[in-house]
Amino acid sequence: MPTHAMAYTRKVTLVDYGREVENEIGTLEEIIEANSALQARYNSRWLAIKLLEEDSDIVDKVKQADGARLLSVARKSIAHLREVYGDDVDTVIADRRYGWINGLVRETVHRTAVDRQTISDRIDKVVTNRVLGIPIFIALMWVVFKFTTDVAGPYLDWVDGVIGGPLTNWVVAILGLTGLGGGWVESLFVDGIIAGVGGVLVFVPVMMSLYFALAVLEDSGYMARAAFVMDRVMHALGLHGKSFLPMIVGFGCTVPAIYATRTLANKKDRILTALLVPFMSCGARLPVYVLFASIFFPGKSGVVIFWLYMLGIITAMVLGVVLKNTLFKDKEQSPFVMELPPYRMPTLKGIWFHIWERTGAFVNKAWTLIMVTSIIIWVLLAIPVGGEGSFADTDVAGSAFAAVSGGIAPALKPLGFGDWQASGALVTGFVAKEVVVGTMAQVYGVEEAEEEAEPTTFFEDVGEIVTSFIGATGDTLKSLPLIVGINLFEGEEEGELTALMAAVEDGFEATSGGHGALAAVAFMVFVLIYTPCMVAIAAERQELGDKWTLASVFGQLALAWLMAFVIFQGGKLLGLG
C-alpha cells in the first residue's frame, strides 16, 4: 500500500505539525467531511493542509465545490496560526515536514563518517585546507599562465606570420587589381585595419590557451574552491568575503564583475567592491602583457604575467583594507553559504564550448570596436600637422595623433615610457585594453612598412601557411614540458623578434635611457592599474554614480602613475634592469 494511503485511510499521521496546527487541521477536516463533493474527491487531511498552505489551485477548486464556509474558516485558521508562530503557515508546515524527513533519514540510514565522505570531500580537505588552500591556489594560477604563454607562443608567431605575410599580400594584390593600390585606400587597409585589428587577432592563440585553462578550472569545480579559499583571506582582512566573487568574474571581464557587486546587500561593501574589481586583470590586458613580456623577458613571460595578476589581487586587497578602515568603516558582516559543487572530470566538448564562445566574443570585439578605433587612429595618423606632407602621405611623427599623444608624453617621462607612441597607446587603451597593442602595431608598424618582400604566388602562400602551422604545432608539443621546467628547446637559437617587437624594444630602450626592461614592467603595471575600458566606466557610472566613478577613474590613474614611477625609479636606484 502506498505510504500516503496508509497515512490517510488509517488516520495515522506521518507528520505531526504541532498542537496548534493540528487543531486547525482538525477543525477544517470536520467541515470538509460535511461537504460530500469535497469528501468524495479529496482526502480531508491533505485538503486541510493545502488550504492552510494557501495553495491557490486548491483554493479555486474549493470555491467551485461550494466551499465558501470552508475557505472562511481556513482564513481564520491561517490568521490565528500566523499570530501564534509569527510566520507564514506554509513555512511552519514545511519546517515540520523537513524536520520529519531529517528524522526519518537519521533513523533509517546508517552511515559511518567515512561513508559520508565523498571523493569531493576528500579532495576538499586538501584544496580548501586553511594552510594549503592559498599555496594551491597560487600554484594553479602559476600553471595557468605558464601554460598560456608557453603553449600559445608558437601559434602566436604563426598567426603573426600569416597576417603580416600572405594576408597582407593578398589584400594589397586585390586592391592593386581593383586600381586602389598604392594610395590612401591601401594605407587604410594595411596600416589601419590589418595593423590594428591584426595586431590584436595575433593574440587569439594566447586567449584560447587562457580560456582553455579557465574552462578546465571552472568545469572541474575548482573555481568555486578558489572563491571559497579567497573568501577566508578577504574575511581575515576585514573585507566582505563575498567581494571575491565579483573579483573572480573580473578575471574574465570587469564590466559584468561591476554589475555582480549588486549581490552585496550592504551599500558600503558594494561601492568598495566595485572600486576594487578593476584591479583584477581582465583577459583584455593579456595581449599587452604577452607582447611586453615576450620582448623583454623571453622564456620567463609566464612568470612575469603570473606576478602581474598577483599584483592586481594584492593591490585590490591592500587598497580594500585601507578603504575599509577609513572611508568605508563598517563592522556589519552579512554571512552567507557557498555551494561547492562536486568535482567533475571536464569534458572536451564542454571545454571546447567555453573556448569557442569566448574566443568568438574576442574576435567579434576585434572586428567591431577595435576596427572602428583602428580606423580613427589611422585617420589621426594620416592627418599631417605642421604643414609637411599630405593626407595619408606624412611621417607619423608629424601626424595629428603624434601631436595629441606627444602632449601627454612628458607626464609619462618619469615612468620610462615618455614618447608619443606609448602615450598614444595608453590613451586609446581607454576604449579597450586590446587597443593598446593594436595602436602599437599601427604607430610602430607604419614606420617599418616599407620592407621589400620577394613576390610569391597564392599557392606558395597557402603552402607556407600550412607548413608553418605544422611547425608551430610541433613547437607547441615541444613546449608542453616547459610547464614542469623541462626545456626541449635548449641549444636552439632564440626566435627572432617580430618587426613590431623590435620597434617596441627600441622605443622603450630609447625613452628609458637604456632601462627598457624596467620601463616595460612599469608600462605593464600602468596597464594593469589604470581604467580597464570605457564600458567599465559606463558600468561604474550606472552602479556608483558620477562622484564615485570620477574618484575611481582618477584614483586608478594616480595609482597607476605612482606604482609605475616607484617601479621604474626605484628599480633604477637599485640597479635593476
Binding site: G86, H235, L245, I248, A265, F336, M338, A432
Partner: protein, 96 residues
C-alpha cells in the same frame, strides 16, 4: 528545521560551505539543498548568483564588449551563494 538553517546563517561569521552547514545541523546535503531552495522560494534567502544574473540581464550585460550576447561569455563561473535577505533579518532575529 528551516529556522535552524536561518539561525546558522545568522551566527556564521563569514562564508561557509553547504557541506559545513550540513555537518553543523547534522543534515544530509541532499535534504539541506531542498530546504535551502525552499527558503529561497519563500524569499528568506537570496540565491546571489541567480540575482546577479537577473541584474546583469537588466543592465544589458557587457554592453559593447559582446554585442548581442544573451549571457556575457567572459563571465567566469562562480559558485552559488546564498545569503539572508536583509528585509527578513529582523524577522529572524525576533524569533531567536
Amino acid at each position: 528545521m528551516l529556522q535552524r538553517i536561518l539561525n546558522e546563517f545568522e551566527s556564521a561569521s563569514g562564508g561557509m560551505s553547504v557541506n559545513e552547514l550540513g555537518r553543523r545541523l547534522d543534515v544530509e546535503r541532499s535534504a539541506l539543498e531542498g530546504m535551502i531552495d525552499y527558503l529561497v522560494r519563500k524569499g528568506r534567502l537570496q540565491d546571489d548568483k541567480a540575482a546577479a544574473a537577473a541584474m546583469m540581464c537588466s543592465s544589458g550585460g557587457c554592453g559593447t564588449s559582446c554585442p548581442g550576447a544573451h549571457k556575457c561569455p567572459f563571465v567566469v563561473e562562480t559558485p552559488r551563494t546564498f545569503s539572508i535577505v536583509q528585509n527578513n533579518l529582523n524577522l529572524t532575529r525576533r524569533k531567536l
